[in-house]
Symmetry: C2
Subunit: 408 residues, 2 copies
Amino acid sequence: MLTVEEARERILAHFAPRESEEVPLTEALGRVLARDAIAHEELPPFANSAMDGYALRAEDTRGATAEMPARLRLVGEVPAGRVYAGTVQPGEVVRILTGAPLPAGADAVLQQELVTVAEDTVALAGEVSLGNNVRAAGEDVRPGALLVRAGTELGPAEIALLAALGLHPISVIRRPRVAILATGDELAPLGTQPRPGQIRESNSPYLAAAVTRAGAEPWSLGVAPDRADELRARLASADTADLILTSGGVSVGDYDLVKRILSEQGHMDFWRVAMRPGKPLAFGLLGTTPLLGLPGNPVSAAVTFELFGRPAIRRMLGCARVERPTVRAVLEGEDMPRGDRRHYVRARLRSRDGTLMARATGAQGSHLISSLQGAAGYLVIEEGEGMVCAGSVVPVLLLNDALPWDDA
Amino acid sequence: MLTVEEARERILAHFAPRESEEVPLTEALGRVLARDAIAHEELPPFANSAMDGYALRAEDTRGATAEMPARLRLVGEVPAGRVYAGTVQPGEVVRILTGAPLPAGADAVLQQELVTVAEDTVALAGEVSLGNNVRAAGEDVRPGALLVRAGTELGPAEIALLAALGLHPISVIRRPRVAILATGDELAPLGTQPRPGQIRESNSPYLAAAVTRAGAEPWSLGVAPDRADELRARLASADTADLILTSGGVSVGDYDLVKRILSEQGHMDFWRVAMRPGKPLAFGLLGTTPLLGLPGNPVSAAVTFELFGRPAIRRMLGCARVERPTVRAVLEGEDMPRGDRRHYVRARLRSRDGTLMARATGAQGSHLISSLQGAAGYLVIEEGEGMVCAGSVVPVLLLNDALPWDDA
């Protein structure tokens, strides 16, 4: 049997980042940056006022008090979006609005609430320090700064920063196309009525959603019955995919048609992986297209996609890290028995006064689709003897990227 | 000044869930369920085998041992997707494959590895208990069960469950349309070169991305210069929106054109909210369309969108809870000074051996766009005197839904 890590390593060796494409920033949400984004400008691009007020020379306010206010001459105004044409001379002030460039000669801004204006004279009842209410050029970003690292998924914050620096359009990695094929005579495709002995197929809708969440484009090949010609035709139609995912038909030790077709058409390995759920796994090349054969049980398919399929997609997207974060949490609820293989237990997570708490979502049979709901992560119960007791600290593989650092 | 809670309450009073629409499950990812999804069937729909093996009557194995194996007669086979036509009689077994319906008369399955087959005789070296390797009908879901509650955002797990129960297509709430208008002569729209004194506009790309993440459809009204006719025209074009977001021009105490136009065209309130950043806020109705006026500073716009805009969108989506979770975490890094208003501090989060740790992302000026990056939440520093010291437990408003329960 392979360990999870060995199986993942073998799979990842077959994947590399895909080519890049340019997209407008307005369509970049959730895409992965292809190259480091470097600032070519300063942000703010010029010193500007943080307030509505008066731009002045700080030294002109020296010694000003409520009893002896400094009186300066109002010589002009600069609204946001304009540039003051002149230079502020000793004894002069310029009315300035928030965001407007600091006029030449000025080195501070006094907010309007603190002055008295009479005709063209502005009286200040105190000293103003150098740089007061001024946002310096380059205070946020300096030219040459690394804004966003290649391999980062772009969220609202990254998009704002790229927009502010004019990096539009932006190079992102093309979304990999992931073909999805469910197999088995017992499966009634979405929207059809099951015949006696059939169940409604749910793995391909699940995988399409999970593939989308991983950043790739799902491509449904539908549900293939256990007929050799059908299976061959469906698989052949997907030869332009970046990855083919199948579910079902790869159990070790049985005589499944899927295994036979895969073996005759490609270079396939059929692995037993030391994990629960989801032991049987197939991986190989169908022609030149990588194919990952997931188990048919819904929970096994979900867990093996998370552990092997998603990392392959993230590698194709050029992500620096292809795995989800693992954190440590305190087990609550039932004690968990160890077994002969590592167990991934669907778990809810919560924070109790600063401590992360994890609890199994309930019964853990690999056919229990309802147990996938509400799982924020997988509790990892390593193989061994005895029980992991409530109150122990256990690793949890998160199913989201909310907590960016590993600590397990 | 209003508290954050008072302002939010006043805003939310103007929003109700939008109408529903039917979508195929294949397009339901990220949509919000309109009505409770109730099971009309059992899952699994019939008792079936968890293994490849032999279906039999448990009582026929009574007393079997390695020395005295039970010998049963192989009378047929049932693959997945088929139904065995007969009834298993005393002394008989039926070859059964994983997922196939348990034949009538049989009440257990023995996995194939544990039997010896010679012609049509199957020998068992031990007793088999009732229900062994049988997945009972309804074990996962019973008819009438609440599968997914109305107001839930649909992820892969919910989609799998709805597919397995045949709830396709499914009713979801229509995505609200949110118009976004940035205002100010100083703003150069995305893709244009700033004139002297201008900066690149980044609030509307930010808000479009954040609105999308919130589950609504952004509708860009572009950037309006400070001209009354332009502002009126842009706002009038958005009268079919579910919500208009503006950024800039709503400061209390200044004479912004935006305030004047909003006041003359609608029933607007201009609020000072007791928070930092983002104090000035406008809210009201423009005709019958709610308008939320956010501050122009990028960080202030981001925080006020999160506190007031996103909850309005989630209310329109019918979400049971419209706010993000708040958790408690241990402050690390610098001590944080209290001030005269509640401070929302952009913060990174990590887990250290089961304890959630929060740290400010760096300088917190409301013009520092780079400080939005990497923030998993906002540290909430309540108003008051003195410092909140590193090591204290502080509430953190999460910027994702990873930890579903509040504990603050």
